[in-house]
């Protein structure tokens, strides 16, 4: 009973926040609503017994992605009022596409073969995290490794597109620092007492 109540709570908060993300006038508010969305989605994952994914969602999406969004939204000098001007002319098109998608979703719902019972996580001795680890590093090793390569390419791409070599920057030259000897830079002077250096 309490689970059902929790489900409806999380689901309705999620939907309301998702609507608020696209309706909010201030883009910063949109991002904050997005964070609330992530939290409610994480709650739904906990209800499904997938606590690892719930935590990852909070750590990665709330902790990193959403904060990044916030930074970008606040740092970019874009007038969102100007962007929004003229957006109304696309409303009929958007509504049309939305309608088509709705009809498709309805067809999908009708086409579902039979009412299969809801699959819940098996309550075995294996922990959620351990179960994921077991398949990611065995059955899905290939996809996991290629995902790593994709991230590598993304890193190279970000550097290629944004890194600029500026000659006027003072850089730390570790080799030169290590090569420095006391005799190069230190001079010991005898200072006789009574007179200055």
């Amino acid at each position: 009973m309490i689970q059902v109540a929790a489900f409806y709570l999380f689901a309705s908060v999620l939907t309301a926040c998702a609507l608020a993300v696209i309706c909010a006038r201030n883009p910063v508010h949109s991002v904050l609503f997005l964070i609330a969305c992530f939290f409610s989605a994480a709650g739904l994952f906990v209800l499904l017994g997938a606590e690892f994914i719930a935590l990852i969602l909070v750590i990665v999406y709330v902790g990193a992605v959403a904060v990044l969004f916030l930074f970008v939204v606040m740092m970019l000098d874009i007038s969102f009022q100007d962007l929004r001007r003229g957006a109304m002319q696309y409303v009929p098109l958007g509504l049309g596409i939305g309608l088509v998608l709705l009809v498709e979703l309805f067809t999908l719902y009708r086409a579902w073969p039979e009412r299969t019972p809801v699959i819940t996580a098996e309550s075995t001795a294996i922990e959620n995290t351990e179960a994921l680890g077991r398949i990611i590093y065995t059955d899905y090793l290939f996809a996991f490794q290629v995902s790593g390569l994709i991230l590598f390419v993304a890193m190279i791409g970000a550097i290629v597109l944004t890194h600029r070599c500026r000659p006027d920057v003072r850089r730390q030259k570790v080799a030169e620092q290590n090569r420095r000897k006391p005799s190069d830079v230190l001079e010991i002077k005898k200072v006789s007492s009574g007179s200055g250096a």
């Binding site: 086409a111 996809a143 390569l149």
Partner: protein, 483 residues
């Protein structure tokens, strides 16, 4: 119980493993070298692709799927990878000098091409929806960066941005389709999906999933109506990158499409044939008619590639082994013609500046007859004039379509190719009958000359021994229908 692992079980993926290593070593080498790294790494990349090609020829082309059924190496994958590696070598060879001339010779360029090539090879070997997606994404991400490689140039940045946004949308569609297919069949592996579909009729949900998968892939092969990015990206990207786009990625995307449609969804062929039919006809028509009004040669070749993908899709729509064999042959011939044509586009320079309009070729037959004749034969071949290679590609495609009783598609396809012949012939008219402009720079470089020479030799002499290539592509296609 832990399954026993042996390195030998990974041997079908040897060329891919080698390319991963090559890419990483190239990153380290590029970082430790300051001057002229791009040029030497381009050579390393060409050598690496050649080595991977040798490994590919040494690998057993009849292996069972490895890595938990995610990666398969059959005759189809083998031949497609052969084409991809050859295309990559040509694309890198065409770029070496161009990069220096345009002062974008940064060492990441060949590295990104290596990773893009790796993604393409994984795509044609994918045997699981997940493996398909990661391969596709590896390839696409590298290509987005390459499109924006000339980052100080607004058109190049725009091309990269457009390609990225639309490509991301396409990936989203593909994933949505994959999730529906997973939901209605309960499987990600191609074998398991085809097992789940065997005999039974597909429900509406699965068909919607399949259509979304097709939409995602149609973006990647730039089939109409998902072609909008192609002309802008081709025009904006640095010309050597445009050459790469025209030569290789479409082979991989088309290969993935063919495997996806025949292996997991082979039993519900009528469901996808109609979609491919529409895509194919629309691509041929738009490729032919929109090309008529182009003045920029890169945009012209973009529409030409859209049209050519339309012809290739005719063979896919046929849905038979001979149809797929014709598609493979068509892709091989198109790749070689595109390599030669872009070699000439890359050498359209006067006084160190690149020119891109068709008018810039005016009177080329008097200032540089050899180049003019070469481009003329390539254009004749592209438009499908008989003794040249391009004719045979189209011939086998339309034969297969007629054998599968797609008469309307075949007739409309031939009509479209007549329309498209106009713009190919217009290039020839400009070269031979217009007033000559100043001569083009003659300093072309060995690698570019070699690519153009090999391409034109293939186009001219294909007719004397077509059997090898035709047989190989038939065998490759037969592997798709073996399982």
């Amino acid at each position: 119980m832990m399954p026993v692992f042996s390195w030998a079980s990974l041997s079908p993926a040897l060329p891919e493993l080698f390319l991963v290593m090559l890419g990483m070593v190239m990153v380290l080498a590029g970082l430790s070298q300051s001057e002229g790294a791009a040029r030497s790494l381009c050579r390393v990349a060409i050598g690496g692709f050649a080595l991977a090609l040798m490994m590919l020829l040494g690998v057993n082309w009849d292996s069972a799927p490895v890595m938990n059924g995610m990666f398969v190496m059959d005759h189809f994958a083998g031949f497609m990878k052969l084409l991809i590696l050859l295309g990559l070598m040509a694309a890198v060879a065409l770029s070496v000098r161009y990069l220096e001339q345009e002062e974008i010779d940064r060492f990441e360029y060949p590295i990104l091409i290596v990773f893009a090539g790796l993604g393409m090879m994984l795509m044609v070997s994918a045997h699981n929806l997940l493996a398909m997606y990661v391969g596709l994404e590896l390839q696409s991400l590298s290509l987005y960066v390459l499109a924006a490689f000339r980052r100080n140039h607004s058109k190049s940045s725009e091309a990269g941005m457009k390609y990225f946004v639309l490509g991301a949308l396409a990936s989203g569609m593909l994933l949505f389709g994959a999730s529906l297919v997973y939901g209605y069949t309960g499987a990600l592996g191609f074998d398991a999906i085809s097992h789940a579909l065997a005999g039974g009729k597909a429900g509406a949900g699965l068909v919607i999933g399949l259509v979304f998968l097709l939409v995602g892939l149609a973006f990647k092969v730039s089939a109409v109506p998902f072609h909008m990015w192609t002309p802008d990206v081709y025009e904006g990207a640095p010309t050597s990158v445009t050459a790469l786009f025209a030569i290789v990625p479409k082979i991989a995307a088309m290969g993935l499409l063919m495997r996806l449609l025949t292996e997991p969804f082979g039993s519900i062929m009528p469901e996808w044939q109609q979609v491919v039919w529409v895509l194919s006809l629309a691509s041929m028509a738009v490729g032919a008619f929109a090309g008529l009004v182009q003045n920029n040669i890169k945009r012209l070749l973009a529409y030409s590639s859209i049209g050519n993908m339309g012809y290739a899709l005719v063979g896919v729509a046929a849905g038979t082994a001979s149809g797929m064999g014709a598609v493979i042959l068509y892709l091989a011939i198109y790749m070689i013609m595109a390599a030669g044509t872009f070699g000439i586009v890359l050498s359209m320079r006067r006084g160190g500046r690149a020119y891109e309009d068709i008018e810039d070729l005016s009177g080329l037959s008097r200032t540089n007859p050899l180049m003019a004749w070469t481009l003329a034969f390539l254009m004749f071949s592209m438009s499908g004039i008989p003794p040249l290679a391009g004719f045979f590609g189209k011939l086998f495609i339309f034969q297969a379509a007629i054998a599968s009783q797609f008469y309307v598609l075949a007739v409309l396809g031939v009509l479209c190719s007549v329309v498209a012949a106009y713009y190919y012939l217009r290039v020839i008219k400009v070269m031979f009958f217009d007033d000559p402009l100043d001569a083009l720079d003659s300093d072309l470089g060995f690698s570019l000359r070699a690519v153009v020479f090999l391409s034109i030799a293939f186009v001219l002499f294909f007719i004397f021994s077509p059997d090898t290539l035709v047989e190989t592509s038939r065998n490759a296609a037969a592997a798709l229908f073996a399982g």
